[in-house]
C-alpha cells in the first residue's frame, strides 16, 4: 500500500560536512538505484535513493540543503520517520569492466551498486567527484570492495583537480570500459554521456516528486517518461532523446528551472 509506514531510525552517522546517513529496517527486497519516499511528519515527504542495502537494513545519505533535508538532518537514532517504497526501476549491471561516476551526494546511491558489482566479480573503477575534500564520503567503503577508487575535487584540495566528468573522459580513452553508471549533478551526467557514444550508459535522475506512483505527472521528462516509475534510472539511448536532460527541471508549480 502506497502510504507511509512509520519506522524507527536505527542509526544516524555524519559522513562529511553537512552529509549524514540514516538507516532503518528494510521493508523487503530493494535494488540499487531504487528510492523511498521519506516522510518527516509535519515537514515534508521527499524521494531518497538508497545508499546502503545490507542485512535487512536500508540507508539513505543526504546533504543538509533544504527544509526537508534540514529536518532530516536533526533526526536521531530512535526517532520515527515514515517511509513508502521502494520505488523505481533500479540499475542493471552489464559488462565486465565498469566505470562508476558519482558527483556530490550522488556518490551515496552508487555504493550499493558497486558493492553488488564486486560481489559478482566485476571489475570496477569508481570516480568520486566533490567540490572540496570536506565533502568527500564513502571513499573507504568503495575501497573495501576492491574497486579502483579515484577522487576529483573542483578546487584541487584532494586528488584530480577538476570535474569528475573530465577525469572520466581520460579513463574512457585509456581503459576498455564496458558500461558507465552515474549519479550526480545533471550537467555532469549530460557531459559524461557525450563521452559515451558507444558505451552502455545508465544515469540516475532526480526530479521534484509528489505521488511517486506515476499519476500526478510532476516528475515527467521528455515524452511523458515518469522519473518515479519509468526511472529514476535511464539509459543513454533514452536520455539522448530527452530534451530536458541536463537543461532544466520543474519546480513544485511546474515552472522550468534551468540547471
Amino acid at each position: 500500500m502506497n502510504r507511509p509506514t512509520i519506522t524507527t531510525v536505527l542509526s544516524s552517522t555524519v559522513e562529511a560536512t553537512d552529509i549524514k546517513t540514516l538507516t532503518f529496517q528494510s521493508p523487503g527486497e530493494v535494488k540499487p538505484g531504487q528510492f523511498f519516499m521519506v516522510w518527516i511528519p509535519g515537514v515534508d515527504e521527499i524521494p531518497m535513493s538508497v545508499s546502503q542495502i545490507t542485512n535487512n537494513v536500508i540507508g539513505i545519505t543526504f546533504r543538509d540543503i533544504g527544509d526537508a533535508t534540514h529536518a532530516l538532518y536533526q533526526i536521531k537514532k530512535g526517532d520515527q520517520i515514515g517511509i513508502r517504497g521502494p520505488y523505481g526501476n533500479g540499475f542493471t549491471l552489464t559488462g565486465k569492466h565498469l566505470l562508476f561516476v558519482g558527483g556530490g551526494t550522488g556518490i551515496g546511491m552508487l555504493a550499493p551498486l558497486v558493492e553488488q558489482a564486486r560481489k559478482n566479480n566485476l571489475s570496477a573503477t569508481v570516480i568520486l567527484g566533490v567540490k572540496t575534500k570536506d565533502q568527500l564520503f564513502f571513499q573507504d567503503r568503495f575501497q573495501q570492495t576492491g574497486a579502483s577508487v579515484l577522487v576529483s575535487t573542483d578546487d584541487g584540495s584532494k586528488g584530480y583537480k577538476g570535474f569528475a566528468s573530465e577525469l572520466a573522459k581520460d579513463i574512457i580513452k585509456k581503459e576498455s570500459i564496458d558500461a558507465v553508471y552515474t549519479c550526480g549533478p545533471e550537467q555532469m551526467m549530460s557531459t559524461l554521456l557525450s563521452f559515451c557514444s558507444t558505451i552502455p550508459f545508465q544515469a540516475s535522475l532526480e526530479r521534484y516528486m509528489k505521488c511517486a506512483i506515476g499519476i500526478c505527472g510532476q516528475c515527467c521528462i521528455g515524452s511523458g517518461l515518469r522519473v518515479c516509475v519509468d526511472g529514476p534510472i535511464f539509459d543513454g539511448q533514452s536520455l539522448k532523446k530527452i530534451d530536458d536532460f541536463g537543461i532544466y527541471r520543474r519546480d513544485a508549480a511546474g515552472r522550468k528551472i534551468l540547471f
Partner: protein, 285 residues
C-alpha cells in the same frame, strides 16, 4: 478522456496519454498566477481509492500556454481546465485557453481542498450563474463545468449552470476525505484533508450523474472511479455521454484508455448493444 490532474504537468505527459488512446485530454487546473500547491505528502493510497491534496499547483496560464501549443498538432481535443475566484478571472483564463488552441474549457468549481477556489465557488448557484454566463460571453468554444459531490444542492447547482448556457456538466470531482496515521496521531496529508478518488467513489459518481441527468438536458461527462469498461457502461446507463479516467491510470497503467475502450466494445457486443447512445440514460427509462 483523461481526467484533470493526471499526467498533465507538461505536453510530454499529455502526449503520452494521447498515444495511449485517450480520446480527449483535460489539462490540470490552471490559474492566473503560478501556484506551488501543498507540501508533501500530497497523495496517499487507501484500501479502495486514492486520497490527494495537491493544492492546485500550476505554473500559471501564460507559461502553461506553451504546453498546450505543443499539443495542437494532435487530432485529439484538448480541454483546458481552469480555476478562479470570480467571473472576470474565469473569463480571462478561458479566453487565453482558446487563444492557446484548446478546444474547450472545463471550469473547476469543485476542488475540495483549495481555499477561495473550487468547491467554495461551486456551491453558490448565483455566483456560478454569473461565472458561466461571463465565460460564455467571452469565448466561442464549448464550456464544461465540473461539479462536486460534496454539496446538498446538486440539482439547483446544475440547473443554474445549464441556465447560464454551459455546454456540458462534468461529474464528479473528488469526495472530501482524510486519513490519520495512528502511530503519530497526525493527518497523513500535509493539508490534513483532501479529495478521495478511485474505485470507492464510483457509486457516488453514478448517483450524481443519475440525479443530474433528470435535472438538465445538456450532456453529462461522467468521472469518478471508472476502472473498467463495465464501470464506464454503468456511467453511460446513469446518463453520461462520455467518461473521464483518472485514478485508473495508476491501477492499470497508461494503457488503460485502450483497455477500457476494448472492454466497452466487448460488453456491448455480448449484450447486443450496437451504439453508445442506446446505453446513455438506459437506467432512466
Amino acid at each position: 478522456m483523461l481526467a484533470s490532474g493526471i499526467m498533465d504537468e507538461d505536453a510530454g505527459g499529455m502526449q503520452r496519454m494521447i498515444d495511449c488512446g485517450a480520446g480527449a485530454i483535460v489539462t490540470k487546473s490552471i490559474g492566473t498566477q503560478p501556484r506551488e500547491g501543498y507540501a508533501n505528502p500530497t497523495v496517499i493510497e487507501l484500501d479502495h481509492g486514492i486520497l490527494n491534496a495537491m493544492g492546485l499547483p500550476n505554473p500559471g496560464i501564460d507559461l502553461y500556454g506553451e504546453e498546450i501549443k505543443k499539443l495542437r498538432t494532435n487530432k485529439v481535443p484538448i480541454i483546458g481546465s481552469i480555476y478562479a475566484a470570480d467571473a472576470d478571472e474565469f473569463a480571462s483564463l478561458a479566453l487565453k485557453m482558446q487563444r492557446f488552441g484548446a478546444n474547450a474549457v472545463e471550469l473547476n468549481v469543485s476542488c475540495p481542498h483549495a481555499q477561495h477556489y473550487g468547491l467554495e465557488v461551486g456551491c453558490d448557484p448565483v455566483l456560478l450563474h454569473d461565472i458561466v454566463s461571463s465565460v460564455k460571453n467571452h469565448v466561442t468554444f464549448p464550456v464544461f463545468v465540473k461539479v462536486s459531490p460534496n454539496i446538498m444542492n446538486l440539482v439547483e447547482i446544475v440547473q443554474s449552470i445549464e441556465n447560464a448556457g454551459a455546454d456540458a456538466i462534468v461529474a464528479i470531482n473528488t469526495v472530501k476525505a482524510m486519513t490519520i496515521d495512528l502511530e503519530t496521531a497526525r493527518p497523513l496529508l500535509a493539508n490534513k484533508t483532501g479529495g478521495y478518488s478511485g474505485k470507492a467513489i464510483k457509486p457516488i459518481g453514478v448517483r450524481c450523474v443519475f440525479d443530474i441527468a433528470q435535472a438538465v438536458d445538456i450532456p453529462i461527462i461522467g468521472v469518478g472511479g471508472i476502472t473498467t469498461g463495465e464501470d464506464a457502461v454503468e456511467y453511460f446507463m446513469a446518463g453520461a455521454s462520455a467518461v473521464q479516467i483518472g485514478s485508473a491510470v495508476y491501477y492499470r497503467g497508461p494503457d488503460v484508455f485502450t483497455s477500457i475502450c476494448e472492454e466497452i466494445k466487448t460488453w456491448m457486443k455480448n449484450h447486443e448493444y450496437t451504439t453508445i447512445p442506446e446505453l446513455i440514460g438506459a437506467a432512466l427509462r
